[in-house]
Each structure stands twice: as structure tokens, then as C-alpha cells.
Amino acid sequence: MIEYLDRLPQMLGRCGSAMVDVAVIGAGQTKYGNHPSGLKGMWAEAAESAFASVDHGFEPRSVDEAFIGSVAFGGAQLGNTAALLTEHSGMDGIPVRRVENACASSGFALRDAWMAIKSGQADVVVAGGIEKMNDLSPERKRFWLGVSGDTEWERLAGLTFPGTYALMARRHFHEFGSVHDDLVHISVKNHMHGFLNEVAHIRKEVSFEKANSGFMVADPLTLYDCCPTSDGASCVILAADHVVRQFTDDPVWVRSSGAGSDRLALHDRPSITQLIATQKAAQSAYSAAGLTASDVDFAEVHDCFTVAEMMATEDLGFAQRGEGGVFAREGRGRLNEGDVCINPSGGLKSKGHPLGATGTGQAVEVFKQLRGSVEHGRQVTDAEVGLSHNVGGSGATCSVHLFGRSRE
């Protein structure tokens, strides 16, 4: 009888009728940047790092299912990517699939993994992401940038993502009185945070003057407003509450997963100074977790361009609508100085943006921050609740996850 009761949550979970809680038990990633390895080597490195981070030890054959995000930039392995990568990381034979939602691919892989456990179909699930962007010639790389925008209408109007985000920035300046200097503050902050991050692509502090003098990429966005194109892989291991203690006594709980979508093209949206997909994802995540923006101690937000972070601080509720510029100007997102630390990893701007790896890479940072295991000088003090925010393209898709030291 006792044995039966012990297994009851698991059995109910498999029936899909009980709320199974989900925890992150391990997480790891490669350094982002110009990585010397190919696709398989990078994934193996990230998986190895994640396996090694599990306190009580971990064998990949424990994994029930895997979801791996990738845009397959350049076609390195466009079809059956997940099967290839799990085959090379000790997870042969399990159900796997590649998840593609542009730059939010692995944010959604994480959500799919969370849902697989929530539904009771699996106990241990890997969510990961990977992108190899720098093994293409500059000429070929140019063809692939912007594949996730509206190719028929926006791309034929000369727009890639620097262009679409530039349109958003100029309109935000016009509607709310924000200025380019606000974006420079974001760039300086994220480079300052990323300077201390051992896995960051660009570990370089940048002065305000330097960040304000980059060459123009898409007016008004300069080089220092744009994230780099990075290689990288990231891997997160999730487990159901009833098996967590087999692996660690120090889990990080996934308090909720929210997601949303919006129309692909900017001109089909009612406003270009906010991302409705982010707002939907955030509302869903906050509501499910019973938390508000004021409960969040730090957030890894999707700053593919500095203006994206400015809008995200509004859409996630850290600043009032139209006040994202003021938020940045007043340093309210700085590590252990502001209201809520925004991008302690350095964000996409400094840590880097290997498209498909970014979402789970954010979760790796949250896992480490909440367990107090980041590099000296980069720790968010007394962090209890962290948020990850992963956007696909110019805001067509978005996932938001809330993580906590405590289960509730």
C-alpha cells in the first residue's frame, strides 16, 4: 500500500490528470562565438557539460525524450537534426525531434520538453539548441540572414532583421520620446555583464562613447546595437518532481511556461512599438506561476538588437509602456544596482546569438544564477526568481519561462 502511494503521483501524472512539477536538474553549453567544432562536436560538448552538472551523476540513457531547437542555418543538417545529435550523445533510440521557431527555436524546445513531463508522458527530458553560423562564407551567410522574416513582403522591400528592428526603434523614438542614447546604455550594460561571462562571444567592455560611434547598419541602429552571429549549443535536462531527488538535492524549478505568437510581418500588426507575442507569453507565464514582474530578480531577455531589449522591458512589465528608454537611461537593469537585472549573461548582444541555441542557453544562465554558480562578480544577489524570454524573428513567436529556487 505504501509502495502504491509513493508511485501515485507518477501514475496520475502519466494519466495526465495530476499536476506534475518540473525541475531543471542539469544544464550546460558551449562557449558562444567562432567555435572550432562542427555540429556534432558542439552538441556533444554542450550535452557533456549538462550531464556533468547533475549533482548525483547522470547517464544519457535516463532520458525519455529530446527536443532540439535549430534553424539549421546554412543547411548544416536540415533534416533529422535531432536524431543525428542524440545519436552522438548517448541517447540512441528515444523519441526526438528538431524544433524550429526561428530564433525562439530552443525556447519552444524547452516548452515542449516541459509539456512532455507535465503531461505525464516522460520523466526525464532533454531540451537543447544548436546553430553553426560561422562555417559559411560571408557571401553564403548573407543569403541566410533574415530567412525568418516575411520573405514575400518585407524582404522584397529590402528588409532583414536589422531593418525591421530599425523601423521599430525609429517609431518608438517618435511615439515615446526615447532616443538612441537609451539604446547605447543597453549596449554598454550588456557588454559590461558579458565581460565577466566565460562563455560569452564578445567579452569586451565598451564605453558609452565607443558604443555611440559604431558604423550605421540600419539607421538608427549601429554596429553596437546589433548582436553577433555566433556558433553555439546549449542543453538543459528537465525532470519530473517524483524523480528529481535521484539526480539532485538542489533543483531549479520551472515555475511556468508561457508562449504567444503574432503576425509575421510588421505591417500586419496594430503597433510596431510593442511585441504582442511577448505580452501574451508573459501574461500566460505570470498567471500560471502566480507571480508578477515585481517578483522577478533577473531576466534573460532577447536583445537581438538593443531596441528589442528596450521594448521587452515594457512588454514583460518591468517598465511602463513607452518607458523602456527611461528604464535603460536610469540603469534600472544593471547587475545588483537596478530594479531587476536584465541580461546578467551579457544577453545576445555580448554573450552571443547562435539562433537555435539561444533559448536553452538563456535557461542555462538562469539555472546557474539560481544555484549561485556563475563566475565571481556576475552573481545576482539573493536571486530567487529568474525569467527567460526568447523571441522568434521580429516577434512572430515568443516563449517566456519563469524559474524559481522554490517549487511554489
Binding site: 553564403r140 548573407r142 522591400a157 529590402g158
Partner: protein
Amino acid sequence: MTSTIDWQGYLVVQNDMSMLIQSPFMCRGQVVYGADSDATTMAIAGLQFMLSRGHSIQSVHLTEPINAEIVGLATGIDSPQINENIATSSVEWDILVGDEATLVIAHNSIERYEFDQPVGLVELEERLFDDLNDAWEKETALAHVSQGAYVSHSQYLEGARARLSLASQRLDEQSIWPPRQMDAAGLRLPSPSTALVGKATVESWTKLSAAGAPSEFSLRAPILGGIQTVFVRFEQGPAGVFLLADDLEYQPKIGDAVDFSVRKIYAQESFIRYGLKAFPVE
């Protein structure tokens, strides 16, 4: 003397039932096309001019190198070149292609054309002219194919009518553009039928450096010093993004009114994608 009219970036001289339309650019003593114009774009501009002056043109005789399909999509004017059901004898209008960048559009009752010389020609720098011509030649080569995202010929044609004529869908007194497939109830929307009219207003804009522009523009963007895109809203409600015409000297501002003209956008697989580009309303 008949005055010269500046129309969609071209020079027009009009008589009663005929008109001369000409590129405003000269190079090495010849009238030449500008950075994103050709006989097709100028034929469209000319026909639209005649329509704007009250002429009724149902069909027209076209000759190479004018693309009759694009002209038809942009203006709604048919031609025997693309519609075998049209009897040649029933076509009342002709477009004659000159040796240089000039066209004559005339009713076939006119036996002799005489036009005053258009005024307002500007000299195009030889190096710029040659570089742009070389770039277009490379772009239109069959081997020039995107290795990533691009708009295929069939995808382009699916939306070409809306793209070239601003034909919009109507639903519950609202205009929808660019065209969409289904409404929120899951019902298929009607085909685009009503052209957006009136001016559009700039709500945002950007200038992309050659490094920030899509690869489809990689040959010409460096020559042009980047490309400019405006986000505009039409009086009827819909919004859209458009390139500015390449040969404009114009710095957009939010609130500016713009109009549109069909120009070349880019070429791939030997097929030129035409579309509307914006220019300021004086």
C-alpha cells in the same frame, strides 16, 4: 510648345491621343534608364498617366522588351501578347519602343507623332551607370540563385497583382492589404479587387547599409550607398513596407506623404521581380 510633365520620375510630353515618356537621365550623349527602371516600368507609368488623363484603354499592343504580364498586373490593361483571345484588330492603342530610353503611347488613329523635346534631362555619371548595368546583368543571369530565403517566381506571381496595383480585399467595410487567406472565422477571404487609393503616410523609415541589406540586393546596394525602406500607412487603413525609388535624392521623415511607382526590385533565376517603390509627394 508643350510643357514637360514630371510623372513618377519620368519626363512626359502629351498630345491629344498620344504621349512621349522618357527617362530623365543621359549618359554618353544618350537617354538611358535610371537605376531601377526599364521599358516595362516606363510603359506602366505611361499607361497610368494616360488613364489619369481620362483615356479609356482596355488593351494595348506591346513589343519586346516590355513585359506584357507585368504591365497587365499593374494596370489591368490587356494585350494580345498575353491574351490570345484578343483580336489584334480590336486593339486601339500601341506602345512603341524607341532606340533610347523613350516610349510613345498612341491611339492607332494617329498616323504621325510629333513631340516637343522634353526638358529636365540630367547627366548620369558614367561609372555609376556602368556599374549598375553590370550588376543588373549579373543579377539576371540564370545562375544567380539565392542559397537561403528568397521569393520564388510562383510565390511572387501569387501576390503580384496586389503588389503591383495595390489591389486590396474588402471585408466588412475594411480594406485588407497585402492579401490574406482566411479570416478569424476560418472563411476564405475574397480575391483582391479594390485598389488602395490616395496617398500613404510615412510612419517609420530606415536606411540599410550594404552590409545590412538582404543578399538579393548585394550587387547593387554597395553601388547605391545602401537602400532605403519606408513603413507607410494608407488612408484606408492597411500598412506596408516599400523601398524608395533608387534614383531619388530624398531623406524621408515621419509624416511625409508618399506615392508609388512600379520599379525593378531585384532579379533571380533570370526573372525580374517588379514592385511598387515609394517617392515623395511634392
